[in-house]
């Protein structure tokens, strides 16, 4: 497959050259932050690090980390590195897990963000001949504005739909022959189901590609979306704290996301010790903004558990690849000493033909952790024989054991009794009193 790049020189830059570029940018960025952000200066002073100690990427590990807690402490202006006069935009997180994060952008910041999204669109096969339907939410949420800007830069005809109103989405998609759809994977699946219900076959749908992100999704979900919409589905990753979508993006190989590392330097660390881990190790993903002016986070801990790889990619890009995050350090459970990520449970459920709707209940009885998972019975699997249902529970428990390394008790429950994800379902009930 012929490859197109949005910024070929950067995207295919030899690794040594990239490292040199990153080092130059880092030295400048650390100085900028130290001089303009008292909050960060204090952190560096406490750690005894001066800007002159940072001579390149190899010195990055000397810098202190930033965490979500720092962002909350510094709300709203504490991490701002440019006068407000130079800022042109804010974006914000939903704030569901505490105080919201407000990120500031200068015009250059917006430009580099949109470039990142443009790289993602081109990697998904987008050109100026495409019609790009952006069905991420517009507003404070970064999804809509980011992909909208990227689509403009590529020169696609952009349909700024925002999310929701599925009937209208479908009408514009089919009337205006949208070829690229950008939205959350769950919304893509929903649009696909609705199209199917309305009698559309994949070959009747004009779309050829989708760029989906902003929430965790599995390979199984990808296959389902690709099938129902008749497209190739690409993953995109980002977070408001760093910039928004486009921090990393998938190429035609679909084996991980290329990090736009000329702007965002990625590290993997041990979440307990903070030690930087070698390539290929699983750990917490940390990003350093090398170019951002207004809100340049250094060594920001994402809480996403991930692996980086520099294996040669068939698309020709040399940008480091990150695996789909395997979970988050903050929703990781340790049960009987084993790390369990809810995303692993979701994968097993989809593989075994169940809905990815579950509830994990962990307790401690006589000093031993108990581990139960409630899973909804499906109409396809339901039978009148008790023995069959018990066998299904056992089979599912075995599949979980194979994936997780520990054996849960599976309880099949009636459909729709576990709240759906729109309602921010409580996936984990941990009754252990460990403090």
């Amino acid at each position: 497959m012929a490859q197109n790049y949005y910024q070929k020189e950067i995207e295919t830059m030899p690794i040594e050259e990239m490292r040199k570029l990153q080092s130059e940018k880092l030295v400048k960025q650390v100085k900028h932050v130290y001089e303009n952000v008292p909050y960060y200066k204090k952190l560096m002073d406490e750690k005894g690090v001066k800007p002159e100690d940072i001579k390149g990427i190899d010195d990055l590990h000397k810098l202190p980390f930033l965490s979500k807690a720092d962002l909350r402490d510094a709300y709203p202006y504490g991490l701002l590195a440019k006068p407000l006069d130079d800022c042109v935009r804010i974006q914000s997180t939903s704030g569901t897990t505490g105080r919201r994060v407000v990120a500031f952008y200068t015009q250059n910041d917006v430009d580099l963000w949109e470039d990142c999204c443009a790289r993602a669109i081109v990697a998904a096969g987008g050109t100026k001949s495409d019609v790009c339907q952006v069905a991420y939410g517009y507003g404070l949420f970064t999804g809509g504005p980011g992909l909208n800007g990227g689509s403009h830069k590529v020169g696609c005809l952009t349909l700024p739909m925002s999310s929701g109103n599925t009937e209208r989405q479908i009408q514009f998609m089919t009337d205006l022959n949208a070829t690229i759809l950008c939205c959350t994977p769950s919304y893509a699946a929903y649009i696909g189901e609705t199209l199917k219900e309305q009698g559309y076959k994949p070959e009747d749908i004009p779309l050829k590609a989708g760029i989906f992100g902003a929430e965790p999704w599995t390979e199984e979900m990808r296959r389902g979306i690709e099938e129902v919409l008749g497209i190739k589905a690409y993953d995109i990753y980002g977070l408001t704290e760093t910039t928004g979508p486009g921090v990393s993006f998938e190429c035609s190989e679909q084996t991980g996301m290329h990090v736009n590392e000329d702007h965002f330097y990625a590290e993997i660390i041990d979440p307990d010790t903070g030690e930087v881990l070698p390539e290929g190790s699983k750990g917490e993903l940390v990003f350093t903004s090398l170019d951002k002016e207004a809100f340049p986070l250094l060594r920001y801990r994402t809480r996403d558990i991930c692996v980086l790889s520099r294996k040669k990619c068939s698309c020709g890009r040399t940008l480091v690849k990150m695996a789909k995050p395997m979970g988050r350090t903050d929703d990781m459970l340790i049960i009987r000493g084993v790390n369990v990520f809810p995303s692993q449970i979701e994968t097993v459920l989809l593989n075994e033909g169940y809905q990815p709707n579950y509830q994990i209940i962990v307790d401690r009885v006589k000093n031993t952790d108990t581990f139960e998972i409630n899973v909804e019975m499906t109409p396809e699997k339901f039978t009148d024989k008790v023995s069959n249902i018990i066998a299904m529970e056992k089979a599912l428990a075995n599949a979980m054991k194979a994936m997780l390394g520990i054996n849960p008790a599976i309880h099949l429950v009636a459909p729709k009794t576990i709240a759906r994800s729109e309602g921010k379902a409580v996936r984990v009930i941990d009754k252990r009193k460990l403090v």
């Binding site: 019975m377 109409p379 339901f382 039978t383 009148d384 024989k385 008790v386 023995s387 249902i389 018990i390 529970e393 309880h411 099949l412 429950v413 009636a414 459909p415 729709k416 009794t417």
Partner: protein
């Protein structure tokens, strides 16, 4: 020949069965027979009703997980040893019983047994050959 059984997945929660029977009675569905198999987690409610198509529709609408299963109905006279005779026939024909339940008719001197096996036709043939009366859907409607 087989008769239709409604099979409903019920959680072990207070009030589940009564809400099902309530829903059915509101729609004038008459129960002929009922059995519950239960485990620690869930139960399976099995019903023979006068109008299983309507019953299925209304329960589905209420969100229940429901399935129609073919089962064998056999009529036996209400006297000691008759059920054993019927079961021996199945045993001799190496027909394995998954579950069964029985109910009495209101007027006649007969009992009805509902039997779930893997192969309904084989069970019906074996029982019919041994002189047992196989119950049909039409018979159920008349009960």
């Amino acid at each position: 020949m087989a008769i239709k059984q409604l099979t409903v997945f019920v959680e072990n929660k207070q009030g589940t069965v009564v809400s099902i029977t309530d829903t059915l009675s509101k729609h004038n569905i008459n129960l002929r027979a009922l059995s519950i198999a239960e485990t620690q987690d869930f139960g399976i409610l099995r019903l023979i009703v006068n109008d299983e198509a309507t019953a299925e529709k209304i329960l589905k609408k209420e969100g229940y997980l429901i399935k129609i299963t073919d089962v064998v109905g056999v009529k036996i006279s209400d006297e000691p040893g008759k059920l054993s005779e019927a079961l021996k026939v199945l045993d001799e024909n190496k027909i394995n019983i998954e579950y069964l339940y029985a109910f009495m008719a209101r007027t006649e001197k007969h009992a009805y047994v509902v039997i779930r096996v893997e192969n309904n036709a084989a069970a019906e043939t074996a029982l019919a050959n041994a002189g047992f009366k196989i119950v049909t859907e039409a018979d159920v409607d008349k009960l």
